[in-house]
Symmetry: C2
Subunit: 214 residues, 2 copies
């Protein structure tokens, strides 16, 4: 499915409002007003509010990242280097699509989920955890990584840390006295800190004692 400019405008406004106020907390009139279209256009183009968020998910999910998978795995980087590249890509992907990942996180918190969206999320998470599993196994076979690594929990810490950092970024800015930075400067700062923190965290956890070149 491809969308015209007006449809994309509706989707993008909906994405921002769903992120800010939640799906149930956002009315189609809110969306229509901010997207500068008539209320009926939403049903006209998408069928329903429910179908609209499904269209959003379909759009955002399909445009993401099968490149990464082959790009990372096919390279001649060491296992740890691949893992570090992956960490940065996760940070970039989540920070570059904060609204959408906010919606996705909220969706995971709900127990009354749309089957379509639930399936999208499950598929994405399955791909992510499998990619990490392959990277870790590669590192283990090279003798660089420890043998007993809980892949699920490593994944959980990676995504959990980035997600929670983004959810708490206002608080983070305050207690670290970063109010003087512009929004862009702050995002860059946070990105760098997260990257360093996570790389350090996992390096000392999943690699063996004997030093390996970074």
């Amino acid at each position: 499915m491809e969308y015209n400019a007006k449809q994309l405008q509706i989707i993008e406004v909906a994405e921002r409002l769903f992120s800010q106020k939640g799906f149930a907390g956002t009315s189609v009139r809110d969306i229509a007003q901010e997207a500068d279209v008539n209320v009926s256009m939403i049903s006209y183009y998408f069928g329903s509010k429910e179908k609209l968020i499904e269209a959003l998910f379909q759009l955002r999910m399909t445009e993401s990242s099968s490149r990464l998978e082959t790009l990372v795995m096919a390279s001649e980087l060491s296992a740890l280097q691949k893992f570090n590249v992956f960490i940065d890509s996760v940070i970039d992907r989540l920070m570059g699509n904060q609204c959408f990942h906010n919606i996705m996180l909220r969706e995971q918190l709900s127990s009354e989920r749309t089957p379509v969206i639930t399936e999208y999320i499950r598929g994405l998470k399955l791909r992510n955890v499998e990619l990490i599993r392959r990277m870790i196994r590669e590192g283990q076979e090279a003798g660089d990584f420890k043998k007993d690594i809980n892949v699920s929990l490593v994944t959980t810490t990676l995504y959990g840390t980035v997600n929670y950092a983004l959810a708490s970024q206002d608080f983070y800015k305050i207690i670290n006295d970063l109010g003087h930075l512009s929004e862009e400067e702050f995002q860059t700062h946070l990105r760098g800190e997260l990257s360093q923190h996570l790389k350090n965290l996992f390096k000392s956890t999943i690699t063996n004692e004997h030093h390996i070149q970074n």
Copy 2:
């Protein structure tokens, strides 16, 4: 403020429904029906739906954990031991109040927040990060912990990991073939895995090279 049995019943049902369907996604009629009271009782007792969730926050926030602070800090445990005790207490607190922490996490994702609730959350997070800061500083002064530790990000990883693990527990159960466990067995299993994972994660990250007794 203290509540009678009926009021507590309403609060507890509201807590579960807000957790499952979100604040905006839950109607006062939903709550009234499941709590087996008349719709008007919610306004009668709490004033409004908004005041109801504020009452929930006030109730859950005041019943939590200033004991921990003095208990952990005043003991003769080593810095790492204190940190490990704190890790377990965080896991227990979040897993023991999943509904409420689900609501709290959702609230942090929203940009249109109730000032009262925002302030509750800010205060709680401030206390938590300060407690962790004191523990880390103590470990540093004893020479056990590294000098350059980003307290905010350590806190973020701790809470982010536990929160995300709970948000993804259905997925975790599936990909780890834990479907044969009862719900209680699974919770116990997850608690243990999380505890081991986080202790291991932080031990290798924040302690110095030379071994210190656990």
